[in-house]
Symmetry: C2
Subunit: 245 residues, 2 copies
C-alpha cells in the first residue's frame, strides 16, 4: 500500500488543559503511523534490525488549522514522497471525524546503525522504490530554523526514567513536551499552535541534564535543547495564533 | 451494562525503555475505561456537570503479574462494586491478548463540586444502584500507605503546561510518572512493578513547585508529593520484583 491510514480517538485523560490533543501526542501518533506503514511495507523495525539498523526521526514540520478535541476521532494518512540511500521523506495528512483536512506534516527519517549511531546505507531495501506515492503535500519542505543571537530564557531538565524510549534515548514526544513547556498556561489558553518544526541533531540519555533555551516573541517560540556539554540536541519552532475566547 | 470492556494496543512510541506499557499509561487507560463506562451508564461527565459536579479519582491500587509489551493488545474490564452518597468503588481486570488475566485494580472515585472542590452528594444519581456488579475482585481493599519517619531523597518539580489536564490540575498520570521517576533506569531494567498504590489528598496547579520525597528499600518505593506549603498532595507505593535478565 503506497498510502496508509490510522484512526485515533482523543480520550478525556489524553487531553491537555484546553481539552484538545496535545502537540506531543500528535507527534507520537505521527511516529506510530509511520512505524505501522513501514512495518506493513516490509521495511519496518524487523527488517532494518536484520542489518543492525533502525529508523530515526530527523525532522518534522507541521501546519494545522485546529487540533482534535475531547472524544473526537481523527485520522492520519501517510505516504512516502521520496527516498535515497540515507533517508526517506514521509508525509502526513491530518483528517478530522467529518473527513475535513485539518493539517499536514512532513517528516525526514534517517536509518542509522544502532551500534555505531552512524547513517546506514539503505540500498539493500529495494522495495522502497515501489512504495513511493505521487500524492502531493501542500506544505513547503522544511528549512533551517533561524535561531536568535541570544535566548532570554533558559531552564534545566534532568532526563528521567519516564522520558526514555525503547531505543534507550529521550523519546521524541518528550522533546516536543519540553519545548511546549517553555510556554505559560495563559499563552496556551489564549493561542493555538498553527505551525511546528523540529530538527534532531544529537541523542539524549538517561540522567543527562539538558538546558532548554527559548525565545518567545511575535507569536513565535524558538527553542534549543542542548546537553551538559552545550551540544545542541534539537532545535524547534512553534507558531501561535490568537484564539477567540 | 454492569461491566464494560475497552481494548487497547501498545504502540512502539507508547513503550517505555523496557518495551512495555508504562505504569502511568496503564493508569491513564484505567481512567479512560472508567470514564467511558460512567458515560455509557448515564452518570458520566455530562450528567454530573448538570449539578456542577465532577468525578475525581481518590485512590487506586493494583496488582499485576506482567505489563503488556510492544505491539500487544490488552483489555480492561471494569465494574462498580459499590457506592454511597459520596464515593463509588470501581474495579478493573487487566487481560492480555491471549485472554489471560494479568492483573486487577481497585479505584475509589469521589464526586466533588467543581466550584467549591468539596464532596458532592450523589443521592440524585438513582441509577447508580442498578449498575452495581456482583463480580468479585480478588485483590484486597486498599489500606493506608505506611510512611517512613523520614525520606532520604527529595527532588523539586515545577508543574508545566503539559502536566495540566482538562480540570486545570496536575493530571493523574503525571503524579504517577513523578513517582516512577524517583527510580533509576537500572532499577527499572532489573525489576518489574508488581504492586502499585496511590492516594490523592490535594490538587496541584500550574506553576507550583512540588517536592517529591521518596524512600526505596527492600524492593519497595514509598513517595510523597507535597506542594510548596508542605501540604501532601499524594502518597504512593510501588512494589518491585527482580526480573530474570
Amino acid at each position: 500500500m503506497s498510502e496508509y491510514t490510522v484512526t485515533f480517538n482523543l480520550t478525556a485523560a489524553g487531553c491537555n488543559a484546553q481539552m484538545q490533543l496535545p502537540l506531543q501526542s500528535l507527534v507520537r501518533d505521527i511516529i506510530d503511523a509511520a512505524t505501522l506503514h513501514a512495518n506493513s511495507l516490509g521495511f519496518g523495525y524487523a527488517r532494518l534490525i536484520e542489518d543492525g539498523n533502525a529508523w530515526v526521526l530527523s525532522r518534522l514540520s507541521m501546519q494545522i488549522s485546529r487540533f482534535p478535541t475531547v472524544g473526537e476521532s481523527y485520522s492520519l494518512t501517510t505516504w512516502i514522497e521520496g527516498f535515497n540511500r540515507h533517508f526517506s521523506e514521509r508525509n502526513f495528512e491530518i483528517i478530522d471525524a467529518a473527513g475535513t483536512t485539518i493539517g499536514y506534516a512532513r517528516t525526514i527519517w534517517v536509518a542509522i546503525n544502532i551500534a555505531t549511531r552512524r547513517p546506514a546505507d539503505l540500498s539493500a531495501l529495494t522495495g522502497l522504490s515501489g512504495s513511493v506515492s505521487q500524492r502531493p503535500c501542500p506544505i513547503p519542505r522544511q528549512g533551517k530554523i533561524k535561531l536568535p543571537e541570544s535566548f532570554p530564557n533558559t531552564t534545566d531538565y534532568t532526563v528521567c526514567v519516564s522520558d526514555i524510549d525503547s531505543n534507550r534515548h529521550l523519546t521524541t514526544a518528550r522533546y516536543v513536551e519540553l519545548v511546549v513547556n517553555t510556554l505559560s498556561l495563559e499563552t496556551c489558553d489564549r493561542n493555538q499552535i498553527t505551525e511546528f518544526e523540529i530538527s534532531f541533531m544529537h541523542e539524549c540519555h538517561f540522567g543527562e541534564t539538558l538546558t532548554i533555551s527559548s525565545l518567545f516573541s511575535d507569536n513565535t517560540l524558538v527553542a534549543v535543547i542542548a546537553d551538559a556539554q552545550g551540544i545542541p540536541c534539537c532545535n524547534a519552532k512553534i507558531t501561535l495564533s490568537p484564539v477567540n475566547l
